[in-house]
Amino acid sequence: SSLFVYPTKVIIKTCGTTQLLKSIRPLLQYAHDLGLTLCECRYTRGSFIFPKSQPFPHTSFKDEVIYIEENLPTNLCYRKATVMPSKLPTHSWHVFTASDQTHPQNMPDVLYTMEICMTELDRVLARKFYLRDPGDGKSGDIAGKEMTELTGIGDTNPGAILCEFAFDPCGYSMNGIDGDRYSTIHVTPEDGYSYASYECVGSIYDDKDDVVKVLKKVVQVFRPGTMTVSITCTSHDIWTRIALALEPLGLKCRSCVMDEFPTAGSIVFQLFTARRK
């Protein structure tokens, strides 16, 4: 799980049975104490692998939306909740956005957010995210750096400062910071429900090959059987580069849906599966 704190923005991303949405109320209170007012809220997630294990308010998307709306101030009046489907019922993208009237363009036009979710990781590659000697007393930071080197995962953004952690007996999280941009990776390597995610921020003015290089590296590290890519961008067709990058890597686009959200702009959700399937 990861937390990013900017002067006027917080991004928090958690897995497991965490109760992420319960952070809204204390965050709003602390922000208020600093003289800050909420002007935009975005909540996204994929379909849970173990939905019945999730505690309230994550018991259903409907419950989540009700909980968020109960905790948002009334100035965030432009609200939208949608479940974006894919060809696989196990892979839907859940989106809630809310924004106020006075800040219609909180996110600069040039930036996009890319959220990648991968399942059915290659078994051999996933084993690299297990500790070699669990319980040997090595710190998670040091073991995390070893995993970063072993997997080559740091090459997704060679210029970033990395902060990583390896969990005992398995699992890995990594944050990358590069100027004002973040990237983050989370891995659950257990066979049968293996999962990895990659998320980053990019600019439409970046070199067109940058997103291709990132996707190529991510696919090389995990070799997923199924991969979803969600692109949030206010005004650009960056999403068209995704399929062009992934198809030569053996991943075929099975579905692609787009929706518009107040302030956030368009979200494009694409599903890819390995041709070996």
Binding site: F4, C15, Y30, L34, R42, C170
Partner: protein
Amino acid sequence: MAASGFEGFEKRLELHFFGDDPVSHDNMGLRLLDLESLQEVLNAVQCTIVSAVGNHYFDAYVLSE
């Protein structure tokens, strides 16, 4: 559920704020929150900070779970 406690698919929340005086406190805003305050927020989520790094623009934390 995975033995490590990981479910897989994450939940992601992004909140944007504005202030009347955005340049106050050297434009640090939410970065002025100390670790104790952040941990109080994370207690509600059921996470703790396990590693951290920051630069001129923002702070990044790796969390348990």
